[in-house]
């Protein structure tokens, strides 16, 4: 339950920070300028999804985590780490070919890692883990 509350608090904090930044920075409505906030909101929404899922499990009297969910988390973490290495290699390769600031590139890489983690989690949640 504590972990669920922490997830919700973090999500609320990130959303509030994004909203304050968006309202005070005077960002123009260009698609590139809006892309990063949208990706951040996407990651936050996914965090909320995981938090709500946990809350529902607790209300049903189920454990928040069991052996399958832990195995999926471990498998997801290992595969997404492996894939993320190639993502950062790609970021390094394109760093001098694309006109982008360093902090933007790093932020894009971090968001890419989050998206990779989510996609891996969805894949293993659908496929399951067999013979391991």
């Amino acid at each position: 339950m504590k972990r669920t509350i922490i997830i919700f608090m973090l999500a609320a904090l990130v959303l509030a920070t994004c909203a304050i930044w968006f309202l005070t920075s005077g960002v123009s409505f260009e698609w590139m300028g809006l892309l990063q906030p949208f990706v951040i909101i996407f990651v936050v929404v996914l965090g909320l999804f995981f938090g709500i899922r946990r809350l529902r499990s607790v209300r049903r009297g189920e454990p928040a985590e069991d052996e399958l969910s832990k195995k999926i988390s471990v498998k997801t973490a290992s595969v997404s780490y492996y894939v993320s290495i190639y993502l950062w290699l790609a970021v390094m390769y394109f760093s001098d070919k694309v006109q982008m600031e360093v902090h933007t590139m790093i932020g894009t890489g971090i968001i890419g890692m989050a998206v990779i983690y989510v996609l891996c989690w969805l894949f293993f949640s659908y496929r399951g883990i067999r013979n391991e």
Partner: protein, 83 residues
């Protein structure tokens, strides 16, 4: 008969189970069964669809719920024959 060291199992054993069958026999929902063995309902769903092989403890707990031996509940099928 092949000598020791050259006789190898080349395939991977697949595991099926009769959880759905026994669950119906005992008139249990997936949620009821999940609560009895202290796992999430999704774990029971994945087990019934053969998308997950349980740990020994979970297999034992499931067999205990249905009052059967583990090998009656979980069936191993060799995908290739042993030499």
């Amino acid at each position: 008969m092949s000598s020791a060291g050259s006789s190898l199992v080349t395939g991977v054993s697949a595991m099926n189970n009769k959880i759905r069958e026994y669950r119906a026999k005992y008139n249990l929902t997936q949620e009821d069964l999940a609560q009895r063995v202290k796992v999430r309902r999704e774990t029971i769903v994945f087990l019934e669809k053969n998308k997950y092989n349980p740990s020994l403890k979970l297999a034992y707990d499931l067999a205990k719920v249905f009052s059967v031996a583990i090998e009656e509940l979980f069936l191993f099928e060799d995908e290739t024959g042993m030499d």
